[in-house]
Symmetry: C2
Subunit: 193 residues, 2 copies
DNA sequence: CGATCGCGAGAACGCTCGTTCTCGCCACAG
DNA sequence: CTGTGGCGAGAACGAGCGTTCTCGCGATCG
């Protein structure tokens, strides 16, 4: 019988992995540091995640769902469809202002590990696809004309580019201004037929 | 007297560093691999660049100027101001289609090395600032109203977000479609007053 | 009550990598 | 012709890291 139950240990390990990997990148954080930050012994870490790669992928998958959940909870609260789209950028602005903000965890992992680890590539692609689906759903509700899936998709793709660009630019410049600039652009795109 | 003159050696080293660092990331490429790819002995590499960090920064700085030069040569050839702005996205589309394309070298380096190396952070910030200045110059020429610097800057910031987002998205999805989507959005933004 | 199993703590192993050192060689100065 | 200084090739060193192994302890089961 373990000192703590497997679920608690798994959560503790992923918590430590998330803050360390996100803050400093994957390659510069050793398993030993995750052990000391989480309090989970190395042996147990390797029982839960057979290799560091598995831990990295689990970190990305968990972050995918929690990130999108946090965003959608915020945006879905707005009553009108247009407001829900614009709320995405309000949410971004708050995220950018957090002191731990360091850009998109998925883009960072992709740039760092690149084509060398297919599991990471897949997790990153899945995250971007899920985000795009969410934006398309929001876009579809804005005007009757965009109930047409293709039209909604076209807008969603443009909104996704603005979001992606805002995240990256905010990370590099260290300001949250890109969220407001992206929102202004989104407003312009929304007003187009 | 050296086997090859310092300039040639420096160029060979930077050529090797550029293709290897860009293709696989900074941390997974060792100095020994740069030696064998460039033919420059390790000792000479360390004379030219006292540490790997120096080589990384020199790689980013050289790529900054050549990237912007290539883009501006392409876009500046267009006769009308609006066409110059839209040409940026044509150029992106060609870049995305190259087999070696792997996203923005600066974003990748930033995500990988993060706050740990101030020189890299500075090089990345300088690159983004230079690109923004170039876009602002293009924007200023589009309409008389945007001769006003603040208005041109506002448009340039939005175009920069679209570009950044397109580069990242193209890298992850492996298609050059984001260039066309970004261009469509840019067209819409240009048509706004 | 004694044997056994699973656990935590951390040492150990094998590998990689940034950086430096050694050594033999060639070109040139005196 | 001989001494010297810089060069290339590559060994060497020291640190870090992913992963596994050892050991001692505490609980569990017959």
């Amino acid at each position: 019988m373990a000192t703590v139950d497997p679920d608690t240990a798994r959560t503790a390990a992923l918590d430590a992995a998330e803050s360390l990997f996100y803050a400093r990148g994957v390659q510069s954080v050793g398993m030993d540091e995750i052990r000391s930050a989480s309090g989970i012994p190395l042996k147990r870490l390797y029982q839960l995640f057979p290799s560091k790669t598995d831990l990295v992928e689990a970190y990305l998958r968990r972050r995918d769902t929690s990130w999108l959940l946090s965003l959608s909870r915020y945006a879905d609260a707005r009553p009108d469809p247009r407001g829900r789209v614009l709320a995405v950028f309000d949410w971004l602005e708050g995220w950018f202002a957090e002191p731990e903000f360091r850009g998109c965890a998925f883009v960072n992992a992709f740039g760092e590990l690149g084509a060398s680890s297919p599991g990471v590539v897949e997790a990153v692609a899945d995250h971007k696809a899920a985000f795009h689906r969410y934006l398309a759903e929001l876009a579809r509700q804005t005007t009757p004309a965009r109930a047409d899936a293709a039209r909604a998709d076209r807008l969603a793709a443009q909104l996704a580019l603005l979001t992606e660009g805002a995240i990256t630019t905010a990370a590099i410049t260290g300001t949250s201004e890109p969220a407001r600039q992206a929102q202004a652009a989104a407003r312009a795109l929304l007003s187009m037929p």
